[in-house]
Structures are given as C-alpha cells and as structure tokens.
C-alpha cells in the first residue's frame, strides 16, 4: 500500500506540474496566429507592376474582345463559338464580371494602395499610380457609365459603394491626372527601372501620357459638354504640354503567364481560333487599298485574301465550317501562332496621340496644323505595322478615307475614321468608344443575327452580376443599347 501511495503522489505531482505549466504557458501556447503564408505589407514598387499588368489584361483581353467585335474589326469565326453571343449582342451580366474584377480588385485597389503608401521617396510611383487610376476609371466609366468612385476602394467606409454619375467620374479623372503630373515633378523619388513595365520609370514619358490622357478625356465629353471640354483643352495647351510620341505599351514574352493576354486567353481555350476577320473593317481597308490590312489579319492561302464574314454571321448555314482569316500574330490574335505571345498591349498609341491633337486643332480649341498632325498619326500607324513611310505617304495621297477636307466636320470624320483603322486589333475598346462618341466610322453595320431588336446596337457594357448580388446600392441593370452620358452622337431608340 505504501508503495502505491508514493507512486500515486508522484503521479499527481506530475499532473499538477503539467497543468500549471500548461496554464501559465497558455498565452504563449496560443500565440500561433501570425500568418506564415503571406506578407502583410507591400512597397509601392512591388505594387506598380500589378497595376500595369492588370491594365494589360483589361485592355488587351476582355475589353479588347468586346471592343474588337463591337468595333467590327473582328467577328466570331464560324468554326468555333466562344464569342458568338457577343457578336449577336446576346450578353448577360455575368459576361462582365471578370472585367469589373480586373478594374477594381487588380488595377484600382493596388493603385490606391500605392497612393496611400507611407513608404518614403515614393512620389514618382504615386504620380504614376494617380495617372493609371485616372486611366482605369475612364475605361470603367466609358464601358459601364456610372460606376462607384467616391465610396469605392474603402470597405471601412462602405461595403456597398454608391455609384457616381459619369460626369462626376470624369471630374475625378481630371483631378487624378493633375495630381499625378504634379507628383511626377517631385524629387522624392525611387528608381523604378524594370518595375515600371510601361516606361521604366521615365517621368517625362508619364507626364506626356498624363497630358495625352487628359486630352482624350476632354475630347470624350466634347459632345455632351462642349464648353467644359473646350475650356479644359485650352487650359491644357496653355501649360505647354508634352504629348506621347511613342506607344505606351506593355511588352510580353513567350514565357507561360507572361504572354500577350489575348493569346494567353486563346491558350486557355485550347488554342481554338475564335476571332476572325469582320467584313466591316476588311472592306474599309480594301476600299482604301490599305496595306495595313495584311498586317492586322492573316491571309488564307492559297488565295492570299483576307477571308471575312459579316458580324453575327458565324452561325449562318452559308458560312458553316467556313475558315476565315484570323487576326494576326502582330495583334496577338492568332491562336496557333506562338508569335502572338509577344504582341504588345497598347494603353495609348502614338498614332492615337496624334489624332487626338489633330481633333483638338480641328475643333479650333488648340493651335497647330490639322493636316500635319493627321498625317503623323497615319505615319505612326504605318510604322507600328512595320510599313514604310513611303507606303504611308502613298496611302495618304490616294486613300478616300484619308482625305481630310476643309470643314471641322469632315476633318473630324476623317480623323476618327483614320484612328479607327490605326487601332485595328490593338485598341478595339477605344475605337468602339470613339465610334459611340462620334458615330465614325459610318460604315459599321448591325450584327446580322442581332437579338437586340431593330435599330439597336450595344452602347455600353452591362453591370456585372457580381455587383448585382453583392452591392446594396446596385443601381439596377441598364440595357445594353442605352447610351452612356457623354454619348450624344449616335441615334438611339428610346429604352
């Protein structure tokens, strides 16, 4: 019995010890909740490439596909079906979920985190971030109309951001650009180098980008608020601005995950060639005997022609199984040509810059020579497609659509139409947006299998389903054929 008692006491003591240690060590014992998997901070220089690459995905993929089809550079190829519904204007809110996510969760929130960052000597990065924020908001509002801005990007403020009127969004765009350009003048900077995948940290180029963007934004509201547009452009020119004279672009490589986003998408879709040549654009190039057509599209051998169909015609029996020309690798549109991987995504092209300046002059709101700016736009486009200056000059001399005319109206028509040709395959969304603003080019058709009803075409994107189901301040779906605020040019049937 004695032995047992001793044994038991020892045992109890051990238990006592164990429990006490357990209890006093409780705090330490429980201190295991620091996340070992992810960093809890990020410097502006590490966030900037995310913002830029997000715009690459946005402008180079989802917006490019919608823009490319609705600007009628492209149509759904009859041999596949991924974009058939886009081509028939038969889209649902869910089709825009991805674009919205790219805008807010990839581009804007990270740009905002840069702007709010307390990392010292980050003024140049913040300047770029402001300009990219302006760029992104403009793209968002041009696509969707009213979008969340004041309440957005701050869940502590509102978990159901209100939608701001498009005019207010534009006001903010101008403010962001001004802030950005001001910050780019600061000397509290960090060397960015390759971390800036657009301009490698070159502040002068970003300033030019900001000015060009501002010009683009003021011209966009020229129809709906000419006074403000004019005043803004005059003020811009008064400060002796520099404008872009090179493409603001992101270059891609053949490495997986680093490819041109449109091509990368086609890879994800099993290399299926969904995009094909639309008769609308191809016929326009043909009428003007434009050599760029053979750069933007692949020819179908052995005929050496750009085989095309009407938008929306992919499902017609007359086209059944028909192989049509695809967009070229130069624009990242050829699914089974790995060279597509290296096509750049252009945020603003030098040609666009020239055409924007030409329009400002044509409207009489800026000093300069319309024809010089107009021609330099065409020259820039030819250069970008590896054609010679002489070819461009021949085109300028002979092409019916390259004749500027004398009145502001004919000049603007020629400028926008030429901008349309220049943006083929690379800036589809901007071309479709300018078409909505100006009604040019005037040879676009209604999809032959449109589901929208007579006289209607897509004039905006639908709000994404993700907002409809998560945002208490969701304003309700606005139909596809309802024009956005600045869109006063196109004849639209009432809702």
């Amino acid at each position: 019995m004695k032995m047992k008692n001793i044994f038991s006491t020892k045992n109890f003591l051990f238990l006592l010890l164990a429990s006490t240690v357990g209890f006093t060590g409780c705090k330490k014992f429980l201190d295991v909740n620091e996340n070992p998997n992810n960093p809890d901070s990020a410097t502006p220089t590490l966030l900037l490439p995310t913002v830029e690459a997000s715009l690459g995905q946005l402008m180079g993929n989802s917006f490019q596909v919608f823009g490319g089809i609705w600007a009628q550079y492209w149509t759904q190829s009859p041999v596949a079906g991924q974009y058939r519904n886009f081509d028939r204007y038969s889209v649902t809110n869910t089709a825009f979920d991805r674009s919205w996510t790219t805008i807010y969760r990839n581009a804007l929130v990270n740009a905002d985190l840069i702007i709010k960052s307390e990392t010292p000597n980050s003024d140049n990065v913040k300047g770029i971030a402001y300009i990219l924020k302006a760029y992104t908001f403009q793209a968002a509002t041009d696509a969707f109309g009213d979008v969340p801005l004041a309440d957005a990007l701050d869940a502590t403020k509102s978990s159901s951001p209100k939608y701001d009127a498009q005019s207010a969004v534009y006001d903010s765009v101008f403010v962001y650009i001004d802030k950005g350009i001001a910050l780019l003048k600061s000397s509290a900077t960090t060397a960015l180098g390759e971390q800036d995948i657009v301009f490698q940290g070159n502040a002068a180029k970003w300033t030019a980008f900001g000015n060009t963007l501002k010009l683009r934004a003021y011209l966009r509201i020229s129809g709906v608020d000419a006074q403000k547009s004019q005043a803004g452009i005059r003020a811009l020119y008064a400060a002796n601005p520099t404008f872009l004279n090179e493409d603001a672009q992101i270059k891609y490589s053949t490495t997986g995950g680093n490819q041109n986003p449109l091509y990368n998408e086609a890879v994800g879709l099993g290399f299926v060639q969904n995009l094909g040549a639309s008769a609308t654009a191809v016929n326009g190039f043909k009428r003007n005997n434009d050599p760029r057509a053979f750069k933007f599209y692949d020819v179908i051998a052995p005929a050496d022609t750009i085989s095309n169909i009407l938008n929306g015609a992919s499902n017609l029996s007359s086209n059944s199984g028909k192989s049509i020309s695809s967009p070229s690798a130069l624009v990242g549109g050829r699914a089974n040509n790995p060279a597509s991987a290296t096509a750049p995504v252009k945020l603003i092209s030098s040609a666009e810059s020239a055409f924007l300046q030409a329009e400002a002059v044509a409207r009489g709101w800026a000093a300069g020579t319309v024809s010089a700016l107009f021609q330099s736009g065409i020259q820039a486009s030819f250069a970008a497609t590896n054609l010679t200056s002489a070819q461009a000059a021949a085109y300028i001399a002979t092409a019916p659509d390259a004749q500027l005319g004398t009145s502001a109206a004919t000049q603007i028509k020629a400028i926008i139409t030429q901008k349309y040709y220049a943006m083929c395959g690379t800036q589809g969304f901007e071309a479709w947006t300018e078409y909505r603003r100006t009604g040019y080019p005037n040879f676009l058709i209604t999809s032959v299998t449109s589901v929208l009803g007579a006289g209607r075409t897509p004039l905006r994107f639908l709000y994404p389903n993700s907002e409809a189901v998560s945002n208490g301040n969701y304003p309700g779906t606005v139909v596809l054929y309802q024009p956005v605020w600045w869109d006063v040019a196109t004849t639209v049937l009432p809702n």
Binding site: W100, Y104, V109, A155, S160, Q259, F271, S317, S318, G453
Partner: protein, 1073 residues
C-alpha cells in the same frame, strides 16, 4: 478558472480504499427475442466499479467481493437487468430488447456512458446491425433515413464519394455545418476537398469520414444539439456523431468473424432524352416556317438538326474519301449504354477476445471498388487495420489503446465542364450517334492519332470521345491515415475516477492530376472540317497536391460521484482539453499556359515554363479548454445536468480569445410517478426532457489581418502571372482581415418526450428545438468595387427551428416467431437567416457567377439566386412580343432553397424464423437544385424538353406585356433553337423532391442447431441493396437531386454536370468461428 483548477486538485488528492475480492461468478447472457447469446454485454457489480463483458458466446466471468449483493447487466438496445446474488456462482441472464431505452446505455460526449433515461436531450443510437443493413461502405450514408433530425446527402453514393451529414439544419452561414465525428472519444477530421479547379470542374475525392470502416463500428450515437455536445465546445455546435468501435471481451475465447459483401452498381437516374431530332442545326436565315432548312454539320455536338428519317446516311469525317454510314435515327439508350456495371468487394475480418485482465479487437478491412464509368478510371480501394485493446494494469489502473490505420487510393473521373469532363462530353453526344461504337479507339473514325499521327477521326470538333478522355485523363489520390488514442484510467477510490486520454489524427492526402498534351488536326479530306480551326489541342497539365493534417487532442477528466441519502445521486466531472491542429497544403503544377514539354511524361521537371506554385500554405491552431459537468439525479426519475466550459483559442484576437459557455438540461421520468396510480398501465415509459445550451466558437487561423499575395491577374481562361520576366510584384489579397473579431455564439433550446406504450410495442420520441447562431464569423463577399472580394466580420444570425418525430412499433409478434416492426421518422427543420451585417441582404455560400447559392436575410439558408425567366402575376411566362422568346428578369431572383421542407422515412424489419427482411424508404420533400445537366442538354438539344415541335411554336402559357405593362396572351411563335441554347440560368432550377428506396436487405441466419456439426458459431447470408430506386416529380427529368458537384460543402444541390449517382445491390456472407 482559478476556482475550477482548485476544485480539480482537491478532487485529485483524495484517499482511496481497496476492495477485497472473493469469489468468481460466471454465466451466459442470451436475448429474449432469438434466444441467442449476446456478446459485449456489460456486467458490473452494483455499487462498485468491478466489471466484465460477455464474450462472443455470451459468457462472462467476474470476480466479486463478498460485499457484493447484485450484478447489473447492460447492453445497448436491451433493458438493463439487475440480478440479486445468492450463494450460487452461476447466473444465466436473459435480456429483453428495449428499443425504447428505459435503461439503455448510450455513449455521450467525451466517451462518457450514460443511461439514456438520465439525458435531457435527444440522443438516438444505432448499433452495428442497424447501421450496416444496407452494406453501404460509408458510415455517414448508412445513417440515411434511420434517425430523425439527420439530413444525409449522399451525392453519387459510390464508394469513396462525398456525403454530408447535417443535424438540425446546421448553424453556420459560411463555416462548417456538418456534425463533428468522434471516434472513441477523439474528434476526427472530416474534411472534404474537391479536386479540379472548382466545383464547376470537380473531381470528387470524397470526404475523410470515408476512412471509417462501418464494420468496426459498435454503435453510433447522434448528439443533435449543442446541449448534448457542449463538452466538445466550439466544434460540436452542429452536433456530433459519437462512434464507438468494437472491443473484445474479457476471458472470452478468441472469436474470428469474417464477412464479405459483393456489390454491383448501376446508374440510378439518367436524364430523359428527345428521340426526334439528330445532329446539326436549323439554318437561321431560313424563314420561320415549314420551309426551314437544316444543316447536318458532321462536327456538331448539337442535336438541333432535322427530324429523324431512319434513312442510312453518312456521318463523321471523311478518311481516304470514305465516311461511315448509319441510320439517321435516335440512339434511345445512349446514356445508359455508356455506363458499365460497377463492382465492389468489401471484406472484413474481425478477431476479438481477451484474457483475465485484457481485451482486444483486431479488425481488418479491404474494400475494392470499380464504379460505373467504363474502364478502370473510377476505382476506390480502402484498407483498414484497427486494433482496440484494454488492460487492467492494476486494481486501480486500466489502460486502453485504440488505433486505426487507413489507407485508401482512388482514381476519379473528371467532372463538370473540365476539358476531360467525361459525363459532360457524353451528354453532348448528338441523339443519333452510336456512343458505344466509339469505345474502339483503334478505329480511325473514333480515335486520335490512328489514321495518321497528329490527326483525329472522331466526328466531334466541339466535344471529345469520352472513351478517349477516360483513357487519357487521370486523377489519383492516396491517403494514409492514423487515428487513435491512448486512455489511462485511474480509480483511486470507488467514488473518484481520473481519465487521461491522448488522441491523434494524422493523415496525408496526395493527389495527382494528369491531363494529356496533344495536338490533333481533323483527318477529314472532304472539307467538312478545317485543319486550323477544328484542331484539338492541349498543352497538357500535371499537378501534385499534398494535404497534411495533424491533430492532437488531450483530455484530462476527473469525476467524483456521491450518493446523498437514499434519493440523490450526484456526480461532478471537471476536465481540461488541449487541441493542436497543424495543416499544410502544397499544390504545385506545370506552367499554366505552357503545360508539358514532352507528352506523356507527368513530372514537374517536364513543365514548359516556370513551375506554378498554386498553393503553399501552412496553418497552426491551438485551443485550451476547461470544463465541468455536474449531474444530479433524484430517485432515479428526475435528472439535472449542468455543464460549463471556457475556451481559449489561438485564432481570435488576444482581447477576445477567451469565451465561456454553459448548458443545463433536465429530464423527468413521469412514468415512475404514474406507475403508482392506476389507469396508466398502457404507459410503460414516459419521459419529458428539456435543455438549454450555449456554445462559443472560434474561427479559422489568420483571419485577423489583410495580407498581400503574389501578383496574378486572371483573365477569363488565362492569366498574367508574376514574375514577369525578372519583375516581381505583390497585390492586395482578396480578404480584408478583422483584428476585432469576437467568438461566435450558438444557443439552443430543446424540449422533447419519450414514450413507450403497450409493453413497449409502440414507442414515440418527439423533440422541438430552436437553435440560434449569432455573431457569426463570416468572410462576407463584398462588392469588388470595394477593391476586395471578402471581408471578415462578426455578422449574422441564423435560426433553425424544427420538430423531430420517431415512431417505432411492433404490430405483429407471434409465438411462431414472426415479428413485424415498423418505424418511421419525420423531420421538419426551418432555417432562417435572421440578419447579416447592417446593409447587407445576403452573402454567397457557393455556386458560380450565373447561379449563386446564398444566405439571404429572411430566407432559408442555401437559397438559389440568379437571373431567371420573367413571369407575370399569374405565373405565366413573359415573352418578347416580337420574338416570342421568354424575356429574363432584369435582376437576380430568389429561386428556392436546397433544404427540404421536410424529410421522412418509413421502414420495416420483419423477422420470421431464420429470415429477416429490412426495408427502408426515405423522402425529402420540397427544396430545389440547380442542374447544369439540364442546361447543357438544353444547349445541345438532347433533353426531352427540347423535343416536340421546334419551329414556330408558341411558348406554353406565355404572355407579352403591352405598353401599359398589362399581360396579353402571346401568339407569336418562336424557334426552340433560338431559346434553349441560351436560357437564363434560373431555368435550370429543378424540384429536388424525391422518394428513395434507401435500403433493402434480406437475410438468413443459420441456427445453432443447423451449425452444430460445424465449427462455425454463426453464419448468415444476405441480399442487400442501397439507393435502389428513386421517384421524382415529373418535372425532374435530369438527375438524382442528391448529386452534388461541390462535395460535402455548404454549396449543396449543385449539379454541375455531376457524376450521376448509383444504386448498389449485392450479396453478403458473415461467418464466425
């Protein structure tokens, strides 16, 4: 806490007495029903802790002190008996079965055994025989229909597939809603991680509860509410399944039991098909009338072509100028013919026995199954070794060890809309294609790379030969798992008991996903196919996923019991619980867009481009808890139990990481009072019970802070991934953390009664309950316009109210040995999302962008939400006046919940002499599910609903709205091809009501007399079936509503071209030596 500790130590340091021992008593325990010996009966000396267990032949042997006056014999499912001891040393005892459970013993929380009469909450128990009657290899599936308040969803019901168990509706909005599974006192992991990229392309690797071998299970007690499970704390807020495994018997001759079941399986329910139209589509330019022309496009997956003619015509590709021919007519049984008969063999060998002071049970199990997909790409193999042993180390120390090693490996087919999705491709087969022909992959017209390298001959350009997919896509997993516990019991005095238990659950789940690299151009030489555009190309893919889970649980419990006077029995238990859980997940794949370099070589070294680190995640969580449990009984008819527990969790902010929660429950055996008055003779047993409980709950690790992740910008199908060249980048994570989280609270109230009538020929068990779960920790999906996708927050309350009714009766019981028992359950649970965060109307718990499954304020949990076809006030479909095609709602609509309105079951057990027959039907009524099977078939035009007149027909019961918004009956015809392929997602919501013949078993047990000349001690053979038949409403022409693409998660009722469910039937033999 300090006080609690003090009392703990006071209880520990107490003197104790030894008990003198004196004589040995033996005997045999038999059942009054069948006169057969009952193994495993607990035999105890009344008032002492000396006990024994009967062996396989019902024999026991126990040494009792001279002071002993009686023995108490207890066994689950039988009334306990007290036997007065005289001078005799042999006592043979007959136990009567007692389904009512007057004195039935159940195993409750922390493996504590309690008499059922004392419980203030519902705690139904199934024994092994009841559990395994349908021979389902899943313990969870085996519960289906057998207990009220339990909602089992068995998905495909194949061995190794997912199944979900929810008690009383589940309490959590976005967290786990399944019952905690506890084996021999130790909670075990029941994770369900679906394979594939998402539930849209899911590969069902099942849930880890599948690792349990039903044959090892002695009993399952279902603790339905928090009251029952309060001692487990946070994890048991959804109730618990308390599983007790088999043990040996002391002093018993070793017994060997072998059982084998061989199971066949076939598809339970396939979609209804149209048999009128074949491959192709109608020409959209054609006028909208009888002159419509059709295009018989040979590469189509569409069946929107011309009506069948029965004439022989060419089809598919032209190879060497020759095309195949076949009649242009419907292949009526195409879907069913595609599937094979599955086969599974489940073998169990049990070896049990014991010495004077030891017992052991050794269970060996092998399950080998090849399910219904052709070939051997849907196999599941499971091997289990269980060892349970007990030893009396000394008079006061007993030790027990219980260990189980489970190894399983499986191959599972690709599901959903994945490239390799087999069922998805089968469903897209035009109605005239003879699918079984395509099995011959060496045929140039069916195969890939046959007629010449780099070309394919299969007809489909938009779909692939499903047989080829089976051969070339593969998903494997391999699980190694060890679970078990060591228990040491010390009994220093007759009134004091100290138990220390260390439990372990550790496993690795390693998965390999392989997708082939290929590039095939059509072999066609007739210009029907285009090389560039109709090529089938894939870069290939290889992914290794490694999931490691390790959990250690320690419980130290001190129990003191004391009798106060004649009438009061009191016991107090105090305990301490420590839980540590570590997990790691590594998912690594070949470069997403680059794929593989060399076809057929599945190795990360073969990645074309940088290897993609998909997930590299480790997590640690710890919990420290102290608890106490007080039981008071008065005159063995009034019982009161109170528990209290305080937890400290590592996953909550330090300021809020301690939380306390109490429970109280009582039961009143009013039949004991009524016994004394006349007029109540019909009532044998009557009990009222009620309980109130609270349970606190912590959260997952790392919810407190927002973090950053590697830059990766997703496109629709591709992505831009950093490093970008040499440039690295970070991006904001998707979840906003919350440094002020509080613990969740669940409270529950329950009231119920148990009644036994007519000598327990009829029994009733009824419960009413209300559960409220508040301050739920949610990762709320917030609008993307906030810059984030989710926000972690304390928000929301969910309420479940319901009734549970169990009835059991034996209307026929004759002397000739015929007995007919009927039993049934009825469960109605109403869940309601009471509130979410201010301003938030709903959050998504699953689905996809087109069809969310949400928790919406004021609605039942698990409501479908999506765009659907607009209806007018009278329920007529609104169409566009010009086109005659239904118009969609402008905003998403609530389309019904996946939760059934009620569940019920009805079963019978009929015994006659050596025969036994068991039948169990169960039903879930109400509720809906989303069927992408319906969607894809509407798209390709193969489902029955796409049949009938297709051109210029008027949409049934349709109206259009005039300028004033008034309904006008529609007469405008539409073409079905313009409508079905592009329908709103809401059109794919289907009524989920079903009735199933859940189990059917017919057994024959040889009597001892029949076996006398043999060495066998028992032999039985049986036929069985589970999930045998299903009846669904006419509107469900698509799938078994139980199939699910999201595994056992909260997104239920989600048929995203899910693998169809199977019926199982076979024969089993059980023999004991």
């Amino acid at each position: 806490m300090k006080k609690l500790l003090q009392s703990l130590f006071i209880l520990m340091f107490v003197a104790f007495n030894a008990i003198a021992q004196d004589r040995t008593i033996t005997g045999t325990v038999t059942s009054s029903d069948d006169k057969l010996p009952i193994p495993g009966v607990s035999v105890k000396v009344n008032g002492a802790q000396i006990g024994a267990v009967t062996d396989a032949n019902g024999k026991y042997s126990i040494t009792v002190p001279s002071s002993a006056t009686s023995l108490v014999l207890t066994y689950i499912g039988y009334a306990s008996r007290t036997v007065k001891l005289t001078t005799s040393t042999v006592y043979n005892v007959i136990l009567t079965s007692d389904s009512q459970g007057l004195s039935e013993v159940v195993v409750t929380a922390n493996a504590i055994k309690r008499e059922k009469r004392t419980l203030g909450y519902s705690a139904p128990t199934l024994n092994n025989t009841e559990l395994t009657s349908g021979q389902n290899p899943s313990v969870i599936n085996s519960l289906g229909g057998k207990i009220a308040g339990v909602n089992i969803t068995s998905s495909s019901n194949t061995p190794g597939s997912s199944s979900r168990v929810v008690l009383r509706g589940g309490s959590s909005i976005s967290g786990n809603n399944q019952a905690l599974i506890v084996i021999d006192g130790v909670p075990i992991d029941n994770s369900s991680i679906i394979g594939g990229k998402s539930s849209l392309e899911s590969v069902d690797f099942g849930n880890r509860g599948n690792d349990i071998n039903p044959d090892d299970v002695a009993s399952v007690t279902v603790l339905k509410g928090p009251a029952a499970a309060a001692l487990y704390g946070s994890r048991a807020s959804n109730g618990a399944l308390i599983i007790t495994t088999k043990t040996g018997a002391k002093g018993a001759k070793p017994q060997i039991t072998f059982s084998t079941s061989n199971t066949f399986s076939s598809i339970l329910k396939l979609p209804d098909l149209q048999n009128e139209y074949g491959q192709g589509y109608y020409d959209e330019v054609g006028t909208n009338d009888a002159n419509t022309t059709y295009v018989n496009d040979p590469k189509e997956n569409w069946s929107w072509g011309a009506p069948f003619t029965g004439q022989i015509q060419e089809y598919g590709q032209s190879i060497g100028g020759v095309r195949l021919t076949k009649p242009y007519s419907a292949q009526k049984d195409n879907l069913r013919d595609f599937f094979d008969t599955g086969f599974a063999t489940d073998n169990n060998l049990g070896f049990s026995g014991g010495g004077d002071k030891t017992t052991f049970y050794l269970g060996l199990n092998s399950l080998n199954s090849n399910s219904t997909f052709p070939g051997k790409k849907d196999v599941y193999n499971r091997y289990n070794v269980r060892f349970n042993g007990t030893a009396e180390l000394s008079e006061k120390f007993t030790a027990a060890v219980s260990f189980n090693y489970a190894k399983s490996n499986s191959k599972q087919p690709n599901g959903g809309q994945d490239d390799g999705g087999i069922y998805n491709n089968v469903l897209q087969t035009p109605r005239d294609m003879p699918i079984t022909d395509f099995k011959d992959l060496n045929n140039p017209y069916y195969g890939y790379g046959v007629s010449s390298p780099g070309t394919y001959g299969y007809y489909g350009a938009y779909s692939k030969n499903p047989y080829w997919l089976i051969d070339n896509y593969e998903n494997q997993n391999d699980v190694n798992r060890l679970t078990g516990n060591f228990t040491l019991n010390y009994k220093p005095a007759s009134w004091l008991n100290i138990t220390e238990r260390l439990g372990l659950d550790t496993y690795t789940d390693r998965r390999l996903e392989k997708k082939p690299k290929f590039s095939f151009a059509p072999a066609d030489d007739a210009d029907n196919y285009t090389a560039g555009s109709n090529s089938q190309v894939s870069n290939g893919f290889y992914q290794i996923s490694q999931y490691n889970v390790n959990e250690v649980v320690n419980d130290l419990m001190v129990t003191a019991t004391k009798k106060f006077g004649e009438d009061f029995d009191v016991s107090l238990m105090v305990g301490n619980n420590i839980r540590m859980r570590n997990t790691s997940t590594n998912v690594t794949a070949t470069n997403e867009s680059g794929g593989l370099v060399v076809p057929g070589w599945y190795n990360l070294a073969n990645s074309n481009g940088p290897v993609d680190v998909v997930t590299d995640y480790i997590s640690n969580r710890r919990l420290f808890g102290l608890y106490a449990d007080l039981n008071v009984s008065y005159k063995n008819m009034l019982f009161l139990e109170a528990t209290a527990r305080n937890d400290w969790s590592s996953t909550l902010p330090v300021a809020n990481n301690s939380f306390f929660y109490p429970s109280v429950s009582g039961s009143f055996l009013f039949s004991e009072v009524l016994k004394k008055s006349s007029g109540f003779e019909f009532l044998d047993y009557g009990k009222l019970r009620t309980s109130y409980a609270q349970v606190g709950n912590d959260t997952d690790p790392y919810q407190l802070f927002t973090t950053f992740s590697r830059g990766e910008i997703l496109g629709g199908f591709g992505s831009t991934t950093f490093p970008f060249g040499n440039v690295t980048a970070l991006m904001a994570g998707s979840i906003l953390g919350n440094a002020n989280l509080k613990p969740e609270r669940t409270s529950s109230f329950e009231i119920g009664t148990e009644l036994g009538f007519l000598k327990n020929r009829l029994s009733v068990d009824f419960s009413y309950y209300v559960n409220n779960s508040k301050d739920q920790i949610l990762s709320i999906p917030i609008p993307n316009s906030t810059g984030y996708g989710f926000s972690v927050t304390n928000a929301g309350e969910i309420q479940n109210k319901g009734i549970e009714l169990s009835l059991r009766g034996t209307p026929i019981k004759t002397n000739s040995g015929l007995s007919v028992e009927l039993y049934g359950t009825f469960t109605q649970n109403r869940s309601k999302v009471v509130s979410l965060r201010d301003g938030l109307e709903q959050i998504s718990v699953g689905g996809y962008s087109g069809m969310s499954i949400v928790a919406a304020v004021g609605k039942a949990y698990g409501e479908f939400y999506g765009i659907t076809e607009a209806k007018d006030a009278e329920g007529r479909t609104i169409v566009d006046q010009a086109t005659g095609i239904p118009v969609n709602t402008t905003a998403a609509q609530y389309l019904g919940s996946y939760n059934p309105k009620y569940q019920a079951s009805l079963g019978t057990n009929i015994n006659y002499k050596n025969f036994s027959l068991g039948v169990l039907f169960d039903t879930k009524h109400g509720g809906v599910f989303y069927s992408r099977t319906r969607d894809i078939m509407a798209f390709v035009g193969t489902s029955a609903e796409t049949g009938g007149a297709r051109i210029n027909t008027v949409f049934p019961n349709s109206v259009y709205l005039d300028a004033n918004g008034n309904s006008v009956v529609n007469t405008t015809g539409y073409n079905k091809q313009d409508y079905f392929p592009n329908r709103a997602d809401g059109a794919n919501i289907v009524d989920a009501t079903f009735v199933k013949l859940r189990t059917l078993s017919l057994g024959y047990t040889f009597t001892k007399e029949q076996l006398k000349s043999n060495r066998l001690s028992a032999l039985s053979i049986g036929l069985f079936g589970n999930n045998l038949f299903i009846w669904t409403p006419e509107s469900n022409q698509y799938a078994d509503p139980e199939v699910n693409s999201a595994g056992a998660g909260n997104a239920q009722g989600f048929d995203f071209s899910a693998t169809p469910s199977v019926r199982n039937y076979g024969v089993n033999v059980k023999v004991s030596f």
